[in-house]
């Protein structure tokens, strides 16, 4: 995440930052969406920033309502999906495997 630069409009998030977030989140958003989302996300972030005003320095964070650590089960063989079931929703498959687009650049 790049350093936050003050937005001339006084907002907490700029259009350029929203574009960066979209890239990180693998969302090929359009220019029109960027215009719309930048304003909406700025309003939402300004509102949720109120959590910063709560005095909570000595408070432990809660990540989960049920205090769980590790949950174990017996290590026993049980039926799973067949190869055919696992591939049943695949956009493309070949020789019993998921077929995916190339993951390396041309130069690799």
């Amino acid at each position: 995440m790049p350093e936050s630069t003050p937005d001339p409009a006084g907002g907490v998030i700029s259009r350029a930052e929203v574009a960066h977030l979209a890239r990180l989140a693998r969302l090929a958003v359009t220019e029109a969406e960027l215009d719309r989302f930048a304003g909406q996300l700025d309003v939402i972030l300004q509102s949720v920033a109120v959590v910063g005003t709560v005095a909570a320095d000595d408070i432990e964070p809660t990540s989960h309502a049920v205090p769980l650590t590790n949950v174990f089960r017996p290590d026993r063989i049980r039926p799973g999906l067949t190869q055919q079931q696992a591939l049943s929703g695949a956009p493309e498959s070949e020789l019993g495997r998921f077929q995916v687009p190339r993951i390396l650049g041309e130069e690799a």
Binding site: L27, A28, F37, Q40, V43, V54, T62, H64, P101
Partner: protein, 511 residues
């Protein structure tokens, strides 16, 4: 009596009444199922509660229940043979599961959710899959990629969300029972605005296995019904430990059916009911507050002692929720990567995997889902993590502490379920923050993980639309919550001369 008159009586019965008739073989499950399928064919073109109607599988499941009963077998459960509408977020091996999203259009999961499997085993008849805000993100069902669901009380208005399809199917008499999921109010708020009953069980009380994740630390599946007893009967079918869900609570399901039957007697003497000071005032529709005050007088007349409690950090619950939820969403929805199932968009014939992911997610996900993914990505990024996500987690602790203190002086807490009645379709769809305010009262229970429900508390004076009373109880405190809800429901029915839902609604005029 003509068959259509007999059908229209069947669809207005409660699940408990239908089960009694089916098990006594006065009527067959096939007849009951057919009556509901006919009703769906009649009204769903207007209501749009269903994304998929499973006519043949439903009739086959009903016939199997009838055959077992004819052979002298005991019913598989107290609800065997009763039809049910399933939110399209539970995986079903014989029906599509889309979560209201284009990215999963036509997807057939290779397995059943634990909830689906338990419903089938108990002999419930799954009528189909109900509409929802995409991936359960929304409070109006307008964020479904397949178009909005309409509120049967007034078809120009929203049915709540995200489980608007399930709630509307009940209010439209398309199904006597439905299943929902509640991450920030998605069972309770639709229940409130459609005049139905919706329960968010204690976190971990109902398995999340096969429930497509929104925010894993908040999601909880629960029953939707037209009466408190019906919700309790369904709760006992779906609840209980599941080794396939590592957050499942390994404890007996609270005896909610017995509690609902006891509560219907109307005696709440000895119970302390806490009124949460912070859940009311500015932003609340005046006649929602009037309905709430009338509900308090009713509870008092049943013998309960009212106490005012303060939960000072509830004020920050909405803000903390809209940091924690998007953070979990941004992580959970990373699985929709166009590789193993669902939509794949190839922007160019030799596009890289990364470009395919970005193009697919852009085409397959709607605005609200994109907004929340980006918000979560922001809140979790280095430099902002402590100020946003970290701080929200601390607020979550403070909300839990508020509940603990309040439950020290009260057996249950009450509030309005939602700040307003159902609003017009389109009114808030472009204003995310205004939409988020619908969840003001319901979010605290998701943050702390305790149980809460909505029960109809009458109609608002100004618009004649349903208002819900929220009842909250400690973790695994469902029994006392159902007891209070059943007592309140019985008192309302006595005062109103019967359930108000039977007198609805705007639908008959439009179909």
């Amino acid at each position: 009596m003509s068959s259509s008159e007999a059908d229209s009586e069947l669809i207005r019965l409660t699940a408990a009444e239908l089960a009694a008739k089916i098990h006594a073989r006065e009527v067959s499950s096939v007849e009951v199922t057919q009556a509901h399928l006919d009703r769906i064919a009649q009204v769903d073109p207007v209501v749009h509660a269903f994304l998929h109607v499973a006519r043949e599988p439903a009739l086959a499941a009903a016939a199997a229940v009838d055959a077992a009963l004819a052979a002298g077998d005991a019913p598989a459960s107290p609800l065997a043979g009763v039809p049910l509408a399933l939110k399209d977020v539970f995986t079903t091996s014989d029906m599509p599961t889309t979560c209201g999203s284009k990215i999963l259009e036509g997807w057939r999961p290779p397995y059943d959710a634990t909830v689906t499997a338990r419903l089938r085993r108990a002999g419930l008849v799954i009528l189909g899959k109900t509409n929802m805000d995409e991936f359960a993100m929304g409070s109006s069902t307008e964020h479904s990629a397949y178009g909005p669901t309409r509120n049967p009380w007034d078809t120009t208005r929203i049915p709540g969300g995200s489980g608007g399809g399930s709630a509307a199917s009940l209010a439209a008499f398309e199904a006597p029972l439905a299943m929902g999921t509640d991450t920030g109010g998605s069972i309770r708020q639709p229940g409130a605005v459609t005049g139905t009953v919706g329960v968010k069980p204690t976190y971990g009380g109902v398995s999340r296995y096969g429930l497509v994740a929104c925010a894993s630390s908040l999601d909880q599946a629960g029953p939707c019904a037209r009466t408190v007893l019906d919700a309790a009967l369904l709760h006992e079918v779906i609840g209980g430990y599941d080794p396939l869900d590592s957050t499942s609570i390994d404890a007996p399901v609270p005896a909610v059916v017995e509690a609902a039957r006891q509560g219907a007697g109307g005696d709440l003497r000895g119970l302390r009911i806490g009124v949460v000071r912070e859940l009311g005032g500015e932003g609340y529709q005046p006649d929602v507050e009037a309905s709430f005050r009338a509900a308090l007088r009713t509870l008092e007349s049943l013998g309960a002692e009212l106490v005012t409690v303060s939960c000072p950090h509830f004020e920050y619950a909405l803000a903390a929720y809209y940091l924690i939820l998007p953070s979990e969403v941004s992580s959970n929805l990373a699985r929709f990567d166009a590789m193993r199932y669902g939509l794949r968009v190839m922007p160019t014939p030799d596009a890289s995997a990364e470009d395919v992911m970005a193009a697919t997610r852009e085409a397959g996900l709607g605005d609200e889902v994109k907004r929340r993914i980006m918000l979560g990505t922001y809140a979790l990024s280095s430099g902002y993590y402590d100020a946003y996500y970290g701080k929200a987690q601390k607020v979550r602790t403070l909300i839990t502490n508020d509940f603990t203190a309040a439950f020290g002086v009260a057996d249950v807490l009450v509030s309005p379920t939602a700040p307003t009645t159902a609003f017009p379709i389109g009114e808030k769809v472009d204003n995310p923050l205004a939409m988020y305010l619908n969840d003001l009262c319901t979010i605290p229970a998701n943050m702390a993980g305790n149980t809460a429900m909505s029960v109809p508390s009458g109609l608002a004076e100004s618009d004649g639309l349903p208002v819900g009373l929220q009842i909250m109880a400690p973790a695994l405190g469902e029994a006392v919550m159902y007891r209070v809800a059943a007592a309140f429901e019985a008192a309302r029915n006595a005062a109103d001369g019967g359930p108000l839902i039977q007198r609805s609604n705007g639908l008959e005029a439009t179909v």
